[in-house]
Each structure stands twice: as C-alpha cells, then as structure tokens.
Symmetry: C2
Subunit: 408 residues, 2 copies
C-alpha cells in the first residue's frame, strides 16, 4: 500500500492569498464599478527591458534554424551567462565569485525551496519572523518540524524581526545550523548594513552553521554603503549560499530566470565528522533533478549585463523605487510608522490595529489591496505590506484614496 509523506499533514493550510482573493472578489461583486488597485502580491507590472526583448527574440530565432538550434544545455547554465553574472554582480563589487560557483535556475522560489534537501533532516533551522513562507513550508515537508502550536512549528528557531530591533533579528541563542536571511527583506523592506551582516557571518563561522542569504531584492539597494551581496562581507565564502533572481531586477517573474551562488569553500559535515563540499552536493542535486533554463530565456537574462540592459534595468528599478517613496511618504504623512520603501519595493506599515481589519478597511473604503502582515508570521500581526509594483498613476491614485478613506 502506497503511503504518503506524512510531514505534509503538518503543513498549516495557508489561506493568505486565497483569503485575499476571496475578499477582493466579494468586494468586486458588491461594487462592480469600483476600480480596484492591487498593491498586494509582489509581482512586477512593467514590460521586459528592450535589450532583453531583443536578445530573447534572437534566442528564439536561433531555435528556428538547424545551424544555430540548441538542445540540452548545461544544467548549471550556459557559460555566457554565468560569466557575466560573476563579473558584473560580484567581482565588480569586490566579491570574489567565479562562474563555476553560479547555478542558473528557473526561479529563486525553487532554489530556496530545494536547497534544504542536501542537508541533514536533523539540521536545526532558523527562520526570520515575519518570513517568506517557502523557507518554512519546505522544511516542514522535509520533516524538520513537529506540528504547529499557536501558529509556530515546533522544532524551528524563529528569529523575531520587530520595531524594537529595527527588523534585523538578534543572533539566536539556541543552536542553529541553517539560517535563512533575506535582505532587503520580504516582507518588511528592511535592509542590512555590512556591520550587521558581518555579525551573522562571524556567528556562522564560529558555530559551523550555514547562511542561506536571499538577495532577490538586491537591485533595489541604492545606498552604496549597504551590501548587495553577502559576499561583500569578509569570510562569507565559507559559510553562505546566496539566492538571486532576474524576477524583480529585470521584470522576469513571468519569464523565469534566477541563480544560486555556492562558493567552493562552503562545507558540511557527515556524522563521522568528515567535511564535504556543499558545491559538489548542490551540483549533484541540480544535475539530477534539473535540466537547465530555456536557452532563449538565458539569452534574455544575459542582455541585462549589456550597457543598454544595465541602464534599462536601472530605469525599471528607479520607477518602482519612485512608487515606493511615494507610498512611504503618504503613509508616514498619515501618521503610520513605516519600514522599507527605501532600498526596497516593500513598505511595512504598522497599522496599529489587526492586520486583517486594516486590510478590509483599505479594500472596502479605498479599493486598495495590500497584504496583511499576519500572513507572514506572528511578528507580522498589526502590520500590512504595501508593494510598489504597479504603475505610478495607480499608486498615486491609491494613496489619494487611502488618505480620503482614513479621513472619514
């Protein structure tokens, strides 16, 4: 008799986005002529940069001709892309990363979800709260937790990100083997300084832990004093894996291209105390369960690193940052404490009331959709996340409507 992976039974049904969808649908049905402005889900709205489109088209054209057609590519990604990534995203910022350490994939969600597979089922996991749910759910599925109590899984170390610590969690006092960090953070928008990040790297080195550093939003960092990669911090090559994506950087959410950096110095131990290379383990996993990213998509991603691509992606990010600044200013003017919105597309707003209550108020009175912070964890209660991913005109309109709604 075929039995299931019973760890799936431990998963708390996540109704966050379906709940949102249902409430939005109900509102729309009750108010068929009200236009809804969506600042909820973190999905981009602007078209792909022209340089990417041009390269994408050329890639497709190559697939039309036997002389230039491409079949299976290297599972780790084409050298043309890995080399550009290493050079532009890392070496140019003083981070010593080589092309062989880059694993191109179809998404940071997949990579942050799959990475835990190569580690022991007994590894102690530390996650921030609020948290991107994929970090938690994939560890639950793998059997690293017990059932949840009061909304938190037993067996995980939760690292509170609160106003008191400026949304940079303290280093955990418990043992932690795998530490998920995300900066600029989703959902809080908080960025981390090199000094703060250095503390984490030192902690990981001292305790032989590994940092899983999600840098999906690094392109929003405009403050030159802030790190865009964990490898800008000395010593990180031995203790950190970094996740990157073209999703937010270049509008690839529907095009699908990302990458993971696994430096050759990163080590894990077996139960006999012998060291093994994380790079080799991940390479084995990637080669066995993945078959490379679509060739034309990799060509489109490569174009991000041309001079035109660099300028166009900067313009794209500037566009969303302008939205973010407007949202932050408007919400601050309304008397709310805000984090993020600078060096980040997300604004984390202390609503001073129940998350869902604030969500309903903004939906019903302003026709604006945000994300209730409680959906990201216990520490998200009382907050909402507003996303800057929309057209500027819509963001302006949304802020005007929120102002009116709250003045009532």
């Amino acid at each position: 008799m075929i039995q299931m992976n019973e760890n799936y039974l431990k998963l708390q049904a996540s109704y966050l986005f379906s709940d949102i969808a249902r409430r939005v649908a109900d509102f729309q049905q009750a108010n068929p002529d009200k236009e809804i402005i969506r600042l909820g889900i973190g999905d981009v709205t602007r078209p792909l940069p022209p340089a990417c489109i041009e390269a994408f088209r050329k890639g497709v054209d190559e697939m039309a001709d036997a002389a230039t057609f491409r079949g299976y590519g290297p599972e780790q990604g084409y050298a043309f892309l890995r080399e550009k990534i290493a050079q532009h995203d890392f070496q140019s910022r003083g981070a010593d990363i080589s092309p062989e350490e880059i694993f191109v994939s179809d998404g940071a969600k997949c990579d942050t979800g799959n990475i835990q597979e190569i580690f022991s089922v007994h590894a102690k996991i530390a996650v921030p709260d609020p948290v991107y749910p994929v970090y938690v759910d994939t560890n639950v599925m793998a059997g690293r937790t017990e059932f949840a109590e009061n909304g938190r899984y037993r067996g995980l170390v939760y690292m509170d990100s609160t106003k008191e610590n400026a949304f940079i969690p303290e280093i955990p006092k418990e043992a932690a083997d795998l530490i998920y960090l995300c900066f600029p953070n989703n959902p809080t928008g908080a960025a981390i300084s090199k000094e703060e990040l250095k503390k984490w790297v030192d902690f990981a080195r001292d305790s032989k832990a590994l940092i899983l550093f999600d840098a999906a939003y690094e392109s929003f960092v405009r403050d030159e004093n802030l790190p865009r990669s964990v490898y800008e911090v000395q010593g990180a090559r031995e203790v950190a894996i970094e996740f990157r994506s073209f999703s937010k950087t270049a509008g690839f959410t529907g095009t699908r291209c990302a990458f993971t950096v696994v430096p050759k110095e990163c080590m894990v131990w077996d139960s006999k105390g012998q060291k093994h290379s994380v790079h080799q383990l991940w390479n084995r996993r990637h080669g066995t369960k993945f078959n490379g990213v679509s060739y034309p998509v990799q060509k489109a991603a490569e174009a991000v690193y041309t001079p035109a691509g660099q300028e166009q992606t900067k313009t794209l990010i500037d566009y969303y940052l302008k939205n973010a600044a407007l949202i932050r200013q408007a919400m601050t003017d309304l008397g709310f404490d805000c984090t993020g919105g600078e060096n980040s597309p997300y604004i984390w707003v202390d609503g001073r009331r129940d998350s869902w209550e604030f969500f309903d108020l903004l939906l019903n009175k302003a026709g604006v959709v945000c994300t209730p912070g409680a959906g990201f964890g216990k520490c998200g209660e009382g907050y909402i996340r507003i996303s800057a991913f929309n057209d500027f005109e819509n963001v302006e309109k949304a802020m005007g409507r929120i102002k009116e709604a709250l003045a009532d």
Copy 2:
C-alpha cells in the same frame, strides 16, 4: 554544526556520460581530422517547428508591452495550455483527463525526480533494469535505499527487462508501492501493448500501489494498437501518474516544457489507514517549490496543438523514425538482434560482447558514438543504445562506417 544529507554518500558516482566524453575527446585528439558522428545522448537536433517559433515570438512580443505583459502565471500552467493538452493528448484518444489534472512544468526530468517527495520514505520502490538513472538516484537521495552492492542498491526492487521477456518486465513478486514504468522505453526502445499494460494497472489496483508512467517518447508510437497514454487502459485513473514532455515531441530539449498528469482519483494512505488525494499533495508541492513555466515557452508549447503544429511535429517525428528504421535495418543486416527503432527513437542492440568494448570499437573504427548499455544497469550489459536523434545524412554515413568497421 551543519550536517549533510548522508544519503548522498550512497550515490554511486555515475561516470557514464563523463566516461563517454573522455573517450570521445581522447579519440578526437588522436585523430584530429576524423569526423565523429554522435548517436549517443538522446538530444534532438532539428529546429523547433515553425508554428512553435511563431507563437514563441508572439509570446516574447507580449512581454515587451505593458498592456500585454505577463508577470507570475499560475504555478500549474496557463489554462490555454492545460486545456489543449487535455483535449488533444487524452480526450481525443478516449482517455478521460481534465485540464485541472495537468501540471505544466519545465521538464520531465524534474517531475520524475520530484514526484517521490510526496510519498513515504518507507515506500517500496520498483524500477526497471535497464533504467533511466533519475528514477533511482532521486530515491537514493531521499533515503529509500541502503548502499549498493554489485551495482544494485539494497532496498530497491529491480525489474529485469531482458530479451527473454521481450524487454517488458514481469510483475514483481515482492511488495512494491511505487512502480516506475517507461514506454516506449528508454533505453531499450521497447513498446508495451494495452493488454500488457492492463496487467500492471490491475496489479497496482489490487495491491494499492501507484504506477509512475513515463511517456516521454509517446509521440514515436505509430502503431495505432499501442497505447500512447496509460489512461487508455481502464482503471488507470485510480493508480497512475503520467509524465510527458515536449522535449522529444516538438524538439523542446533546450526550450523546456513538460507536464505531469495526476488524476483526482489517485489516492495514498497515511499510517492510520486514512486516504488522501495525490492530486492535492502534488498541487501543494508544485505550488510551494515551483513558480510556473516561462510564458512565451507555454505559448510555443500551445502551438504544438494547432493544425500546423500537429502536422509539423508529425513531420519532425517521422524524420527521426526514418533514422531509427535505417539504424535498425543496418544493425539487423549486420547480424545483431535489435529492439526498438519502431515506435521509438532508440535502438537497443545486443552486441554479443562487453558494452564498453563495443562502444570503443564503434568509436575507434567507425568514429560513431553510442551509449554502452551497462551504464543503464546490470541488464544493459552486453548491449548498446543507438539514438536516432541526428541528421539523416549523418545516420546514413554512420551506418556505412559501422558496416565497414565490422567487415574488417
């Protein structure tokens, strides 16, 4: 201290394709002006069908304009593609599959590798021998085996596919919960009749097992009496998951699109004997660890189902089948027993000698690369696999050279 998933230590290093690559490189270096013809790896060589190229281009163009731009799509794939698949690949052949049962992905390798995650680590796995290594390696990584002895992992049920059983294995006598089947088979090229397949479906029903049916090569089936889907067999909806791909059907190996069919009737049990829906489990896994296939790629895949796409993919498959027939005839004329090459792109040749010895002979004397059968398992020893994926002129030339080489 971060510890590894020690199941990775059980993996037998697969040197098959690197061994081949090294021997080919050595030969090329020793014979710089000899042209090598590659009939080894199962990768297509013909360009994408024009209908797919046209749709692919249109999809890219939509990404260039804010009005038609697409961000995140549904993780399970766009309805436009799932509906066409359900209708053309299943309903039109009397197999009752609905669009909601189709999960679009970036590759059958990923899907056949990931599917085991939703089942118990104690599930008893049955695999054919010779076997596509992904079935085995992903179960080793998940901890369902002990270390290997004499080339076989303890804990797996191996189902011998030999000349004696016409490469259709017997139903195992041991208990088996998850049964991997692949028809038309990689590497043997053997196809299965509905009657034979019915026996497996009945066995699975009787023993509450699940069949993982890899139909990646179904488009090569031209004998109308042979099933192209497991769902053409009565009762399969309750006990079979099917894997499909556009890789071989439409030349998508470098473009990346595939799908998995999980009927809503498929059930698994928990340790208390309660039933759970496999569809819901896979949906949860897919939604948590995957973020959808590139939109333009899904548009390209959809075009396979247009009248032009259907004709062009048929022409494409006909081309490779003509190669396959030529290879089979040539090797048969040389006195070798062959399987496959009809309803399959692979020809499985009994070389009547050591696999690697035959490989070396063909490489060194004919400049032709094949795949030694021993690389696919114990029962592959003595065989080689010749692939029909190359240009017809090259295949003709290769067969001429092999004839000469063996006449020496």
